[in-house]
């Protein structure tokens, strides 16, 4: 009976947090002179009204869930991989590099695309390994090493776009020259989303769910995350496992970047990561670091991102409202969780 009651209390606390986040956002909307109900209606109808719009949501879900899958691994090892943003960018850079190299060769497009995605995954993993080496062998906290590397990744992609890979004539913020359509990943009938990309994303989050919960490697990773000192005494070298966590996360982040190039933009653009890395960290936190919960949450986040695009036109509101709603949700859930532990369990 107590177990059931506990579950009920937990659910009530979560619902309370959601209500608070919505109340907070509604108050902001009121302050900005907009009708909250009308805005929420617009957010939802902007993302699910037609199949085409829902395809846009799925297109955003792919990089978001891949980034989330990656950071779930580093979170398991007790690491705050803020560098995931740069790892996505390096993935995109490596994919662009591979496609540029192979597009002239006499190879079937499928092979070129596969090689491009593989290159992107390797690029992400290399960038992550750099943050990992700074952490484990250089004593630089992963948050600051990662942030610094994010800025360097931005510099690298800007340099490539304005320098060696610039469009014929003059380089611009709109990115490199688009790849020929033969190198675009096939899309569903109505366009916008590639079934291959969707398949990769589903496989990615599935692999991470299994890896963390059902393997010895996942268990040892958890041990390192909970207590590196005692896992060292138990014969699990924390440095090696942290490096593996970074590299695996980099593979997923790199795949996200690779798919942004091959199935969304078909070229390298300066903001290729579109903040999906940071958003993935939020999704992982809101899902309480459980892979299966991350799937619907990432879908919801992707939906309000798409729904908010029309806000400036329809309601003269800034589209950053989606970020406000996402951040408020995570903040209030964190607070509710803390309040529950502090005041409900002890009584």
């Amino acid at each position: 009976m107590t177990g059931f009651k506990q579950k009920f209390v937990d659910a009530a606390v979560q619902a309370g947090a959601l209500a608070l986040a919505v109340a907070f956002t509604s108050a902001l909307l009121k302050a900005a002179g907009a009708s909250p109900l009308e805005t929420y209606r617009q957010l939802i109808s902007g993302s699910v009204d037609s199949f085409a719009e829902f395809a846009y949501v799925l297109r955003g879900w792919v990089p978001l869930i891949l980034a989330t899958a990656g950071v779930l691994i580093t979170f398991t090892a007790g690491l705050w991989n803020i560098g995931v943003e740069g790892q996505i960018m390096l993935g995109a850079v490596f994919t662009t590099w591979a496609l540029r190299l192979l597009q002239g060769a006499d190879l079937p497009p499928a092979v070129v695309l596969a090689a491009g995605i593989a290159a992107g995954m390797i690029g992400g993993a290399l960038w992550a390994a750099l943050a990992g080496a700074l952490k484990t062998y250089g004593g630089v906290h992963e948050i600051f090493g990662g942030l610094g590397l994010n800025f360097v990744a931005t510099a690298i992609s800007l340099w490539l776009i304005f320098g060696p890979w610039k469009r014929p004539g003059i380089g611009s913020m709109s990115g490199t020259e688009p790849f020929p359509e033969t190198l675009w990943m096939t899309e569903l009938a109505s366009g916008h989303v590639s079934p291959w990309a969707l398949g990769l994303a589903v496989a990615g989050i599935g692999v991470v769910a299994l890896l963390v919960r059902n393997t010895g490697f996942g268990l040892r990773l958890k041990a390192v995350g909970k207590n590196p000192c005692s896992s060292h005494r138990l014969g699990i070298p924390p440095a090696r496992y942290m490096m593996w966590a970074f590299i695996l996360c980099g593979l997923f982040a790199g795949a996200a970047g690779a798919l942004q190039v091959t199935s969304v933009y078909h070229r390298l653009i300066p903001s290729i990561s579109s903040g999906y890395g940071f958003l993935g960290l939020l999704v992982a936190m809101l899902a309480a670091y459980r892979a299966l919960w991350a799937i619907p949450i990432a879908l919801f986040f992707a939906a309000i991102n798409v729904g908010s695009i029309q806000l400036p036109i329809m309601l003269q509101l800034d589209s950053s409202l989606s970020g406000v709603l996402q951040g408020a949700l995570v903040l209030f859930v964190l607070m509710a969780e803390g309040a529950r532990r502090r005041w409900m369990r002890s009584s």
């Binding site: 900005a32 610094g148 800025f151 340099w159 951040g327 607070m335």
Partner: protein, 321 residues
């Protein structure tokens, strides 16, 4: 003549770095008390937008700066409440706030986009130099923080909060209440960085293209580089300012390099310096040094020590009083 140009350039760096100085000094105060406020990137944007909005509507620079400090203290209060009272991860709460406050500033700042607003005036000095009140205040903040930390009794207690809160508690110090106080004080000082941008260095509010996104993350890295000492942190900030100024100044000499690349050039340097000040903390370094002959060992240990930045022992650790 060249020397004079140099002097004007350096005075320009001094003024342009003033916001960053507020950010690093404020965060140093907070972290010395044992709390990490990771929300800086969003906090600075929100206080830049809020103080600009207040200054435009009231036509008062002073109220603008007060609003900036107030917003900083309010965001810091959320960090303190979540970490001290609710015992949630400081890193998690700070990171969420960094994103939330950034989007909040873009959302609420929309009506104030590109509006003309008041700008802090600067005074003429001899030799074509000029200085403004914000720069003077930023210099004063460095000195005040240093004196408070190392020359006063409350400053000793402050350092105790971050190093040995249990010992401070036994001696009758209300640890968590003081941590609240210093987190909010530090947040208020960081909050001054906002108006220092939007009312002086980069006057105005231009939403996502204000060019302020990222500053908070840099400030957090500089605090570590500064080894939690306000003077060393300020030197780090000025070094960063000089590197950015050189990036702009060297532009004509390097036509092949796009300007966007030179603007981010200080970051690799930043990572390298972080590596240098942190590598002494790594275990394998200690092990390697212990294998060296005695004379070389002493020299290397001393060299690393002088560079090393050691965080307050209880930084980020909650205290149950």
């Amino acid at each position: 003549m060249c020397g004079e140009n140099m002097l004007i350039g350096l005075a320009g760096v001094l003024a342009a770095t003033a916001p960053l100085i507020f950010a690093v000094v404020g965060e140093t105060i907070t972290e010395r008390a044992g709390v990490i406020n990771l929300s800086l990137n969003g906090l600075i944007l929100l206080s830049a937008m809020g103080s600009f909005a207040v200054a435009v509507t009231t036509d008062s620079l002073v109220l603008g700066f007060l609003a900036g400090a107030g917003i900083g203290a309010a965001v810091a209060l959320v960090v303190a409440f979540c970490s001290i009272t609710l015992r949630q991860s400081q890193v998690a709460v700070g990171f969420v706030l960094a994103l939330l406050c950034r989007d909040l500033s873009y959302f609420l700042g929309n009506p104030f986009m590109n509006r003309p607003g008041p700008v802090v005036p600067s005074f003429r000095l001899p030799h074509a130099l000029s200085i403004d009140t914000v720069t003077v205040l930023s210099l004063a903040a460095i000195v005040l923080a240093w004196v408070w930390f190392f020359k006063t009794r409350p400053g000793l207690v402050l350092r105790g909060l971050g190093e040995q809160p249990a010992a401070a508690y036994v001696r009758g110090v209300p640890v968590n209440r003081l941590r609240y106080l210093y987190t909010m004080l530090g947040g208020a000082v960081v909050g001054l960085a906002g108006p220092a941008y939007s009312l002086s260095v980069k006057a105005g509010w231009r939403g996502t293209i204000s060019g302020l996104d990222g500053i908070g993350w840099i400030a957090l890295a500089i605090v570590i580089f500064g080894g939690w000492n306000p003077v060393r942190a300020a030197l780090g900030a000025y070094l960063f300012g000089i590197l950015q100024w050189l990036g702009v100044a060297l532009q004509p000499a390097l036509p092949g390099v796009p300007s966007q690349v030179l603007q981010v050039a200080p970051f690799p340097v930043m990572i390298l310096t972080l590596l240098f000040v942190s590598i002494g903390n790594a275990e394998w370094v200690a092990r390697t040094i212990s294998r060296l002959p005695l004379r070389g060992r002493r020299f290397l240990t001393r060299a690393l020590r002088s560079l090393e930045a050691r965080p307050p022992a209880s930084l980020g650790v909650p205290f149950e009083g």
